[in-house]
């Protein structure tokens, strides 16, 4: 016989009005229920970018480019002018915007299928031209939107709906390390790999995002590339907590976190 469930009660605070509000959602993040699955890193990444835009006070000058993938509706949450790109073409669209409006802040938000498979050519050539934009690359090793198929970034052995026995590198190739690949391009100004699975990693990722946008505002270098290694609880068939644990246990060994290319010292 199971014990009757006891509903935990939310502790109230009587002198809340005398306390300092030390954290709340950024204003530029539109107050709307997100469509992402519970525990999805996309939501955190969205929030980080909006925090960055608020802190740099660049809402009026920023134009975002949304991709195809789970984050196809990014403009539902980001209260800035945005364009929805075709699959893989986000950096081409961003190039177009930046070339005719060079004083605006332009960024793309892309997943791994978008940036590292169908849009590989656009990614490489945009960065090789050193377009002064920010690329936010959310890498969760899977095609989330279409139902959990193998992505170019899926780890060897990982089971997906199109690699039912695990990714076999003999027939399906190896996962692409996009950040390392593009870091050798002269047009890449700042390349970093971050995560948003813990408070500590979120703090670091935020700093990286701030830097990337700041570099664009300074207009000194080329493309800033922020990879965010994220989870996909639904696609990975794990709970959010398990998926974040899996990142620590398995993924970061392959996708090492940290800065990969820093701007040259002045």
């Amino acid at each position: 016989m199971t014990e009757p469930l006891i509903e935990p009660q939310h502790i109230q605070c009587e002198n809340l009005d005398q306390m300092d509000q030390v954290w709340t959602r950024p204003e530029t993040l539109i107050d709307r229920k997100l469509h992402y699955c519970p525990g999805c890193g996309h939501s955190v990444a969205h929030r980080l970018i909006m925090e960055t835009i608020d802190e740099l006070n660049i809402q009026e000058t920023t134009i975002g480019v949304a991709p195809v993938g789970c984050s196809v509706f990014a403009y539902h949450y980001m209260d800035i002018d945005m364009q929805e790109a075709a699959h893989g073409r986000a950096t081409a669209v961003a190039t177009g915007i930046k070339r005719v409006l060079p004083d605006r802040i332009v960024f793309t938000y892309q997943g791994d299928g978008d940036l590292a498979a169908i849009g590989t050519a656009e990614t490489i050539h945009t960065i090789n031209r050193g377009e002064n934009i920010v690329i936010i690359f959310v890498n969760n090793g899977i095609y989330g939107m279409t139902g959990g198929q193998m992505a170019p970034t899926t780890l060897p052995g990982f089971v997906t709906s199109t690699s039912p026995n695990g990714r076999d590198t003999h027939t399906m190739g190896y996962p692409l390390k996009m950040a390392e690949m593009i870091s050798v391009l002269p047009g890449a100004y700042y390349v970093t790999r971050q995560a948003v699975h813990s408070a500590k990693s979120v703090r670091k990722a935020k700093k990286a995002t701030l830097k990337a946008f700041q570099y664009q505002m300074d207009g000194k270098g080329g493309t800033s590339f922020v990879e965010i290694v994220s989870n996909c609880p639904s696609g990975w068939k794990m709970t959010p907590v398990e998926s974040n644990q899996y990142l620590d246990d398995e993924i970061f060994d392959f996708y090492t976190l940290g800065d990969i290319k820093l701007p040259p010292k002045e």
Binding site: I80, G96, V100
Partner: protein, 359 residues
């Protein structure tokens, strides 16, 4: 009016684009349109615009999407195989209702084909081209002068109807030189305010501008389609352009567009010298198609002859317009071969005599 210059069609088109206030050009080399790309690479950046050679036609059309979405005059140009690659982006742009100018300097296909002039891309141009129900306004110049003139017209129509306008020309018109003069065109006066929808940065004084072709609810998507179809109907009612020659006394009417219209014109002259009564309709807008004039003429003349550099594409639209009232014959050359006036005259003589026999 500028002085008279001797220019290639591709160069005249490029020069006109700069004079029409072009701000963003994105393109990829392909014969026979490369002069366009080259001309703009020399001149656009120091005349107020931004030129970029993209890594592919796919990237180029999406750069157009981005830049045109920022509310400035933007264009790309390519030739047949490249235009096929662009279709994805064109469909997105049509749905998102972004004005821009596209140029297809058509060459012989299918496949890699030849680099000689062709009209094999007619269907692709006027029936949409990419996925989904959409149309482009399609302008078909027949001279270097019109290559220039239709740039201004194209940008103005694009701005008016918020859609891509396609200049459908061919390798020969792109490569040949003829005298051209550029009209006085006031860029500022013709500027359309796109601030209500363009992504230029969300000012606090307005809500966000989003450019998208994604509308996940079927009903919403149907509304968008209804809106687009309404727009195309308005265009069909208001923007038909064509040239009519010798139609009053004619027994046979030739229908031809672009370069072939000039060959057909020569054929018409030669046939009339031989005593035939031949007139001509040259559609200038391929969409909207000049259906009405063809229907009206079908009451007066005996036969139509459609001449094209393809296997017979526009002839279907002529037959639809005429609706079975009179015979619509076809003469075409394919793969990059240009018909000679004499071939068309032979065809006209054959048509004329078969009519006499049947009487």
């Amino acid at each position: 009016m500028s002085e008279k210059l001797l220019m290639k069609g591709n160069e005249a088109l490029a020069e006109a684009a700069i004079r029409a206030g072009l701000k963003g050009y994105f393109g990829y080399p392909i014969t026979p349109q490369s002069e366009l790309l080259e001309y703009l690479s020399h001149h656009l950046n120091n005349r107020g615009g931004s030129f970029l050679q993209a890594e592919s036609e796919l990237a180029a059309i999406n750069m157009v999407y981005g830049a045109a979405g920022a509310g400035v005059r933007t264009m790309t140009s390519t030739s047949s195989p490249g235009y096929s690659l662009m279709q994805e982006g064109v469909s997105y742009i049509a749905c998102a209702e972004i004005p821009c100018l596209l140029v297809n300097v058509v060459r012989g296909g299918p496949g890699l084909g030849t680099i000689q002039p062709s009209q094999g891309d007619y269907f692709q141009a006027v029936k949409g081209g990419g996925h989904g129900d959409y149309k482009l306004i399609v302008l078909a110049p027949d001279s270097v002068q019109e290559m220039a003139d239709f740039v201004y017209l194209g940008f103005d129509l694009a701005d008016k109807y918020l859609m891509p306008v396609l200049i459908l020309t061919d390798g020969a018109l792109g490569q040949m030189m003829e005298p051209v003069t550029f009209p006085d065109y006031d860029v500022e006066k013709n500027k359309v305010d796109h601030s209500s929808w363009a992504t230029t940065g969300k000012l606090t004084s307005r809500s966000q501008n989003v450019i998208t072709s994604l509308h996940i609810e079927a009903e919403k998507m149907e509304d968008i389609n209804i809106h687009l179809q309404k727009k195309y109907k308005t265009i069909q009612e208001n923007e038909v352009r064509y040239e009519a020659i010798n139609t009053e006394e004619a027994d046979i009417i030739i229908v031809a567009f672009g370069l072939v219209a000039r060959v057909a014109h020569k054929a018409m002259e030669n046939a009339n010298k031989k005593g035939l009564k031949v007139g001509m309709i040259r559609p200038i807008t391929l969409f909207p198609f000049p259906t009405e004039i063809l229907l009206t003429l079908s009451e007066k003349v005996d036969q139509f002859l459609v001449v094209e550099m393809n296997a017979g594409q526009m002839v279907e639209d002529v037959r639809l317009a005429v609706n079975g009232k009179i015979p619509v014959d076809f003469y075409g050359r394919m793969g990059g071969v240009i018909p000679q006036p004499s071939e068309i005259v032979d065809k006209l003589i054959q048509m004329d005599s078969s009519k006499t026999h049947s009487k």
